[in-house]
Structures are given as C-alpha cells and as structure tokens.
Amino acid sequence: MSGALTPEDLHGARSRHRRERAMRAVFFSAAFLSVVISVAIVASLAGGAIDFLRKVDLGTLWSRGWFPRRNLFDVKTIFAGTVMVSAIAMLVAAPLGLGSALFLSEYASRRARRLLKPILETLASVPSVVMAFFALRFISPEVVQRFFGSDVPLFNITAAGLAVGLLVTPLVASVAEDAMHAVPNALREASVGLGARRRTTSVRVVMPAAVSGITAALLLGVSRALGETMIVAIVAGGTGGSLFSLDPLQGGQTMTAAITALATGSDQVRGAGPAYPSLFFVGMLLFLLTLALNLASERFVRRVRRRY
C-alpha cells in the first residue's frame, strides 16, 4: 500500500461530478419552467386586457348586458351568471360531496372504501363536454323542466349549475375524505370511550377536527365551478350575448362561456374593435378570482398538515 489516503482519493471521478452538475441544471430548468408558464399566463392575459381597456369606452363596462358585437361589455351580467352557476353547483356538490366523504371515511368498511373510491374518481374523469350533453338531454328536460314547468327554456342556468355541481362533487368528496381520513384515530377512540355514538363522533369530533380540509375542499369546488367552461357554453344558453338577469331559470352568460363565444364562431370579431381583446380581460378576471380561492384553500390544507 502506498502512502496515506488523501481527500483527493475520495473525491471521485471528474466526469461523474460534471454529469451530476449537468443533471441538476436540467432538473432545475424543468422546475423553473413552471414559473415561466405562470409569467406567460399573466403576460398574455394582461397584454390583451390592457389592450381592451384602452380601446373600450369604460361606461359600457356597467350597462344593460353583455353584447360584445354591439360593444356592450357589462361585467356584472357575466359575473352574475358565473355566481349563479357556481352557487347552484355548490348546493349540489357540498352536501353530496361531504356526505359521501363522511360515509367513506367513517362508516364504510375498508373493502367497501377500496371499491367505492375508485368509482367516485371515475365520475371525476367524465369529460365536461359529456356532462354537458347529459345536462341537455336529461337534467334540463327531465329534472328542471319537470320541477319548474315546461315554460322554462331548455337552455337555462339551473341545468348548467346542476351539471357543474355533479362534476365538482367527486373533487369535493375526494379532498374532504382525505382530510377526514387524516384525523388521528386517538380522537375517535377518546370520543367512543366517553360513550359517544358513531354519529356524535363523526359530527362533533371528526368534522370539527377536519374543518380546515373541508373548507379547502369547498373552496376548491367553487374554484373549479367558476372555471368550468363546456357545460355553461353548451347548456346555459348565452350564445350571442345576454341581458343582465338574476333569474336562474332563464338562459344567461357566464365568464367562461363569454370567452369561448368570443373565440369561436358565435361572437367572432376580429380587427380593431374591443370585442376580441375583451376575452383576455374576462380571462384575467377569472384567473384572479380562481387564484384567490386556490391560495386560500392551499392555506387551509397546510394548516391540516401542520396540526397532525
């Protein structure tokens, strides 16, 4: 054996170090790409939105309705439509989603849970255009028109809201179920040990302990409902524009439907007018709205994670 071992001997081959540094750089750029995408989203939205605000007569942003072709861009019309659709959706998704989550987490046997959860996830993978078809063929005639009378138009806000709600239900159920499942068993055992029934344990112990996750699930549901496009574009019946209305049994325009209408045939206007860039403006509003909800929900989820 020759001489003592020096730090140099332990250093390893230079080529391996070079490769290590190269791989690190490759992976870092992949991760950094997400930041680039965010910047690109904000830039493309803001660019068009500023273009719109420069061209538009600001008075038309608060007028009688949303008619891009006639240069009427009443923001409250599409906002009211979006809020109505999301509210109806959450009326469906909150009880169905939370009820399913509580059943899966607290009542179902392990085998039932293993079987039922994938089926629920399958419901989540139904494409929104398929749900739109279902809403038009089944929900609107068989549910809405049956309950509210046949003078309700086939294309209406309520049918769109119900369909969006069914689409959002599995998301709410899945996030809420994760939160309830994460509640430590010690809490349940303590409650049962004091003689509480299963219902008392579920409602008074598990649900309060999981309240952050449940809030997050609901916020995510609202955010998804706001951004849902195809169902409202097909079912809500806002083609061509809409007057300001708060009647959920009539057709109406939402933010997302307004964007698709601007981008496709029905409202397509190119050239110098403010109609085309208005889609970026609406997109910007939608982006900011969902971003706020997602950030809030992320905060709630993190609170659960820290506690347990």
């Binding site: 391996r16 930041v35 169905l96 629920l120 929104s128």
Partner: protein, 316 residues
C-alpha cells in the same frame, strides 16, 4: 343519614346499569347513516344514468351505422358524418401530451423533491406549481392562443393554418397537465423511504445515480399512474382546444405525422361539441356515439391506472 346516602347510591347504580346495558335503538343515528349512504349512492347513480342515457342512444346507432362511423370524416350530411379525424386527432394529442409533459414533469418533480433545499425560491416554485394546477382549463386556452397561436404562429402552423395547428393544441394541453404530472410525481417520490437513498449515498453514489437507480424504479408505478391519469384528463378537455382553434368543421386529411403537426386539427371532445350544437336528431345520435367511444377510452385508461396503482402500491 348514611342509610339515605346508601339508598341514593343504590338507585343511581341501578340507573347507570340500566343505561349501560339497555340497547336503545339509535333511530337518528341509523337515519343519519342512511342519509350519508344516500349521498354516495346518488353520486354513483348519476354516473350510471349518464352511461345508460348515452348507451341507449349510441349503441343502436353504432349497430346501425357499423364501422363507417369510424372511417367517415366530418360532414354536414349526418348520414356521411363520422369521427375519423377526431380519433386521429385525439391519438396525436395524447401522444403529444405524454412525450412533452412526462419528461418535463418528472424532471421538475425530481428537482423539487431530491435536489432543492428549503429556500424561499423552492417554496415559491412549489406554491406556483400548486396554483398552476388550479388554473381553469380555459385560461390555459388563452395562454395557448396568445403564445402558441399568435406569437409562435409562423412555427406552429405556417400559412393559411394561422398557427391553429395540432402542434399548438398539443403544446397547450401539455402545459395544462404539466403541474398535475409534477404533483403526482412529487407524491410518488416522497413515498420512497429515505433509507433507500441513504444506502445509495453510503456507497458513494452521486445524487443523480441514487435517483436513477434507487428512487425512480421504486417511484415508477406512482409516476406512471399520475401521467396516465393526466393524459386521460387531457383527452377529455375541450375548452382549451376550442381557444387555440380546433376545427369544428371540415378538415382535410392526408400527409404524414410531421405534416399533420402543422395542420389544423380536431379531437373527439371537439367533435362532440360540434355535433351537439347541430339541430338534426341524427347528429345527436352521432354525438352520443362519439361520447361512448371517448368515455370508453377514458375509463379504460383510468381503470388501467387504478389497477396499476393497486398492483404495485408498496407499503414501507
């Protein structure tokens, strides 16, 4: 005095015994459980009704039209219309999403989980990825419209295509599912225990060597499940494709794969959208048939992913 205390004690213990041993029926509790079960069954019944409603229309139609539905292209005559271009377009888009989003997503996840230290930049990137996952699909469509169609139009679709090409659509979908791929891969990597990595470092492996030969093989099922699910999501998505100009009308076919990339395109869900809007009844049947093919494909992909997860899921 003491007799009185004893008497009270006796009645109390008698009462407690009765309370504890008696089996009072918990009617409210049973009702509550039934109500919860109902919510779950209702959600699942919706899926069943949807499938039955689509199948009731689609299956007789498919039997009546036979294979011509799959070989015919778009047509304004319902008897000649089919879903060929939708099938081709969706296949290309699915392949595109996997080829672009999988390596980028896995690379980003490896950096976040294996390389990154807990710095402000890391936390920022992580929050950013999570927020990207919550951005509505239609906003990705606007991004695609602004960047891939208008800014890079001369590359993605030169000439009369005006940038509204398969390339632009595929890139938009790939960008849209990228955060989902990153997040599911991060979860899969996190599930690999640290002792596996330490064994690698202990024999002098570099970080990349540990990732390649130790971490990734164990995380592979989770990574695959995640990317398969994100591909299913991309295949069902319509709104962003409409934004980047997927055709809902006539479409020329022909040319090789590379030509097709720069040509206008359509996909199965886009065709559904186009057919649903038509007034003729037979187009509604055609829409139902297209939906059946789309759903069947997405469910098979999902089922494969779930089976994959159940088969290879490892408990450490």
């Amino acid at each position: 005095m003491s007799a009185r205390v004893e008497a009270i004690g006796a009645t109390a213990s008698e009462r407690v015994r009765r309370e504890l041993s008696g089996r009072r029926s918990d009617l409210l509790g049973a009702l509550f459980q039934l109500l919860l079960l109902f919510t779950l069954v209702f959600a699942l019944a919706v899926l069943l009704v949807l499938l039955l409603d689509v199948g009731r229309t689609a299956i007789p139609f498919l039997l009546h039209r036979g294979a011509t539905v799959f070989t015919a292209g778009y047509s304004s005559l319902p008897a000649n219309a089919g879903m060929k271009q939708g099938l081709i377009g969706s296949a290309y888009l699915g392949a595109f999403v996997i080829v672009i989003a999988l390596p980028l997503g896995v690379g980003a996840a490896i950096y976040m989980e294996e390389y990154a230290r807990d710095t402000a930049l890391t936390r920022f990137i992580n929050t950013n990825i999570r927020n990207l996952a919550g951005v509505p699909a239609i906003v990705y469509g606007i991004l695609g419209l602004a960047v891939f169609v208008r800014l890079l139009g001369t590359v993605t679709g030169p000439g009369t295509v005006e940038g509204k090409s398969l390339l632009a659509g595929g890139l938009t979908l790939a960008v849209m599912v990228l955060p989902i791929v990153i997040i599911t891969t991060q979860e899969a990597l996190r599930a690999v225990p640290h002792s596996i990595r330490e064994a690698g470092f202990g024999v002098g492996a570099t970080r990349w060597e540990v990732v390649r030969s130790h971490v990734l093989p164990y995380a592979a099922p989770g990574v695959l499940t995640g990317s398969v699910l994100s591909m299913a999501r991309a295949l069902g998505e319509t709104a962003p494709l409409i934004m980047v100009g997927a055709v809902t009308g006539f479409l020329a076919t022909g040319g090789g794969f590379l030509d097709a990339l720069q040509q206008r395109f359509t996909s199965l869900p886009t065709l559904v959208f186009a057919y649903v809007k038509k007034p003729q009844a037979e187009f509604q049947d055609l829409a139902a048939a297209t939906i059946l093919v789309l759903i069947a494909f997405i469910f098979v992909v999902n089922l494969a992913a779930i089976l994959l997860r159940n088969r290879y899921e490892r408990k450490w």
